[in-house]
């Protein structure tokens, strides 16, 4: 017999109408919340679109993000979802032939072309009268911010009916941690060594793809992290309720590339948001409509110090002038998006 907690039909039965102090909390998987307010990840009936047994590293933020996003998208579309994947870690660790972790129709073509392939899938579904089947494309920051940007921009400007999700771990992790257009200033990568007056990745370079997406005036652009599961799932759901080109940019810490402890993935994602370095917001047709306010802003050092890619900034003596320049970026984000909680 199926244990009650694994039987989706019995979920309602387990809700206890007792007033605990956690009620109303947005803590992940809080079983005391009303069933309708719980995350999809807390549901025993979740699809497991990216199921267990794959070969991601321990603490992989991308694996976590992809599972969160796809399960939410599968729920929002009632299982009528096709996924297109760019080449990268996610593709490699999920489908070593003859195995696959995907429990939904999934297509991988090339590194640079996931947006165009997804546009083609959407066009095919439309031509076949399958408007109820939706398309989600996904890739890492290399496939999105760098090599795939032309295809992504084309998908945006044609307003093709695709949700594109970028899992941003801020470097080419699959090839051994090289700098991408999303690598933050002073971060050490294999192609931006931590030497010289301005060690690590150059400051003043890189692309802000959420803002580039907004410049296309597409119906929906949002950023999120793997730390705020309710926020992430709500954004996926909102995106899937809309038609046209939509873009979701999810910060996914990478223990390998960031030099962080696997157990710290969610904590670091939260600190990225709470430091102001990763603004979490939503935009519609080019205008910011919502921001996730920062509850208790932390200095950037708190976010950077646990990551060995920034170890050179905390040497003896610490590089306070460089840390100040990173703090200035966080301050600018807070001012630009109005992130301080009122």
């Amino acid at each position: 017999m199926t244990p009650a907690f694994l039987d989706p039909g019995s979920v309602e039965m387990t809700v206890q109408n007792v007033k605990f102090y956690q009620v109303g909390s947005r803590a992940v998987g809080n079983r005391l919340l009303d069933a309708t307010l719980r995350t999809e990840q807390a549901s025993p009936a979740r699809r497991n679109a990216l199921t267990s047994g794959h070969r991601a590293c321990q603490g992989c933020g991308e694996a976590l993000g992809a599972r969160d996003v796809l399960d939410a998208a599968v729920r929002a579309t009632e299982g009528k979802l096709v996924a297109v994947n760019a080449t990268g870690c996610l593709e490699v660790f999920s489908t070593p032939y003859p195995e696959s972790s995907w429990q939904l129709p999934w297509l991988h073509s090339l590194f640079a072309n996931a947006p165009s392939v997804a546009s083609g899938v959407a066009a095919a579904l439309k031509a076949q009268g399958h408007d109820e089947i939706r398309v989600l494309a996904q890739g890492g920051d290399g496939g999105t911010v760098d090599i795939g940007l032309a295809c992504l921009s084309g998908m945006f400007e044609r307003n093709d009916d695709v949700l594109y999700v970028c899992y941003d771990n801020e470097a080419y992790m699959n090839t051994g941690v090289q700098r991408s257009g999303s690598t933050p200033p002073f971060a050490r990568t294999a192609t931006t060594e931590a030497t010289g007056a301005e060690p690590g990745a150059p400051i003043g370079q890189g692309k802000d793809v959420p803002r580039i997406a907004m410049a296309h005036e597409i119906p929906y652009v949002a950023t999120a992290t793997v730390a705020e599961l309710h926020d992430l799932e709500a954004k996926v759901e909102r995106a899937m309720m809309m038609r046209g080109a939509r873009y979701l940019h999810v910060l996914v810490p990478c223990p390998l590339g960031w030099g962080s402890a696997p157990a710290d993935t969610v904590r670091l994602a939260r600190l990225a948001q709470r430091s102001g370095l990763f603004p979490v917001f939503e935009a519609s047709h080019g205008e910011v409509t919502e921001v996730l306010p920062i509850r208790g802003r932390v200095p950037i050092e708190e976010y950077l110090r646990p990551q060995r890619r920034y170890a050179h900034l905390f040497a003896d003596p610490p590089r306070t002038e460089l840390l100040a320049r990173i703090q200035a970026i966080a301050d600018r984000n807070v001012a630009r998006y109005g992130l301080d909680e009122v």
Partner: protein
């Protein structure tokens, strides 16, 4: 019924009769008229059930065709030259995934130097991308090959490239018979994919394959591609047009046979007629290479002259290398003639001199460039020798 039509227009109409469901389009000369015409037919409703996408590059065009085909739609696009090279990575992907996409290549030279005119450098450089390659000798063949291409592609689940000489065919107006809708509907059933992105029966397409199975996957691609040698004649029979992997013209008993592909075949046949004892073998199918048919047609010839519209720099002939393989063990001499690069006309007087050189025995197994301006070449080689600008001095070189 024959109508006076531009080649591109006739190709577009033939493609439309095949009811493509997704056509991603990106302009490049001399292909553009084809996708313009398809776009217009989608707009005016004469081609219904088709999504016409104006994409941002040829790479995106082939990528969208890949997505569409994997989602179970009949997908078509067209390109040429730089555009074909820009979609190279996606071409290999389409064949690797076994997606029956049909692509028109309006053959054009590849730069630098930039040149918009006709030769076969573009499609020949993609000889090994795993696609069937068909070459149209004239516009009627171009029309029929497109209809046949969809049937062949979908029968085998392999992509097919129909190569049509840019300008010479794409922009030529002539009386052409474009098949009617009912004829094509009878011949070409709706596309039934081998595997498809289906929410009710999910599959993962495009997995990573390691050393333990990659060779087998590649072997099976080769096996499947070579099936086209037998399936192509069958679909041509079914379509009822006189098309075959090779077109043998007066080769029986001919001591000298000229092998070629594409539109230059007509001029060569005219010249062959003047000589009487010269045959012409026109390849319609170049990939897979019809070794048996070529050997059968050429096995008795003493001299085989391969007139090619492209070449492999640093090596020589592309088509003639395959012809030599087909003729291994026979006594035929095979020469390579590189002709008509970048739109240079392949004229009857030049071909007459060529045939005379072949019959005199002078040509032998040489590699020659037809109508090469020798005085210009000598001048330039001398100039390059004099102006050698880097590296240590070489014995006999410039100071």
């Amino acid at each position: 019924m024959r109508r006076q039509l531009e080649g591109s227009r006739a190709i577009a109409e033939a493609v439309a009769r095949c009811r493509p469901q997704v056509v991603p389009a990106y302009p490049i000369t001399p292909q553009t008229h084809i996708v313009e015409a398809i776009g217009a037919m989608v707009r005016d409703g004469s081609l219904s059930g088709c999504e016409f996408m104006t994409v941002e590059s040829e790479f995106a065009a082939m990528s969208a065709a890949i997505g569409a085909s994997a989602a179970g739609a009949r997908a078509y696009t067209a390109t040429a030259s730089q555009g074909l090279l820009y979609m190279t990575e996606a071409l290999f992907n389409a064949s690797g995934l076994g997606l029956p996409i049909v692509l028109t290549v309006a053959n054009r030279a590849v730069g630098a130097p930039i040149n918009i005119w006709n030769d076969h450098s573009d499609s020949m450089s993609l000889r090994d991308c795993g696609w069937v390659q068909l070459y149209a000798a004239d516009n009627q063949a171009a029309v029929d090959l497109h209809v046949v291409a969809f049937a062949l592609a979908e029968e085998l689940s392999v992509p097919v490239m129909v190569c049509v000489d840019g300008f010479v065919l794409t922009h030529a107006f002539e009386p052409l018979d474009v098949p009617g809708q009912s004829a094509v509907d009878t011949f070409l059933p709706p596309y039934a994919p081998r595997q498809v992105l289906d929410v009710d029966d999910p599959v993962a397409i495009g997995a990573m394959v390691g050393p333990e199975a990659f060779t087998e996957v590649r072997y099976l691609s080769h096996y499947q591609l070579t099936q086209a040698l037998t399936v192509f004649p069958q679909v041509c029979d079914g379509w009822g047009r006189p098309l075959s992997t090779v077109d043998a013209y007066r080769v029986d008993g001919a001591e000298t046979v000229i092998v070629t592909l594409g539109s230059v075949s007509g001029t060569i046949k005219d010249v062959a007629d003047e000589f009487g004892n010269v045959g012409v073998l026109t390849l319609t199918m170049f990939r897979p290479f019809p070794y048996a048919e070529v050997r059968k047609a050429l096995g008795a010839a003493k001299r085989v002259v391969v007139v090619e519209r492209a070449f492999a720099p640093g090596a020589g002939g592309i088509v003639s290398a395959d012809v030599r393989t087909a003729l291994a063990g026979t006594f035929a001499e095979v020469s390579t003639v590189v002709a008509g690069l970048g739109g240079r006309a392949v004229t009857k007087p030049a071909l007459r001199r060529l045939v005379a050189d072949a019959m005199s025995g002078w040509l032998g197994e040489r590699l020659v460039f037809l109508d090469l301006r020798d005085e210009l070449i000598e001048q330039q080689i001398e100039r390059m020798r004099q102006r050698r600008a880097s590296g240590p001095p070489r014995p006999g070189g410039a100071a």
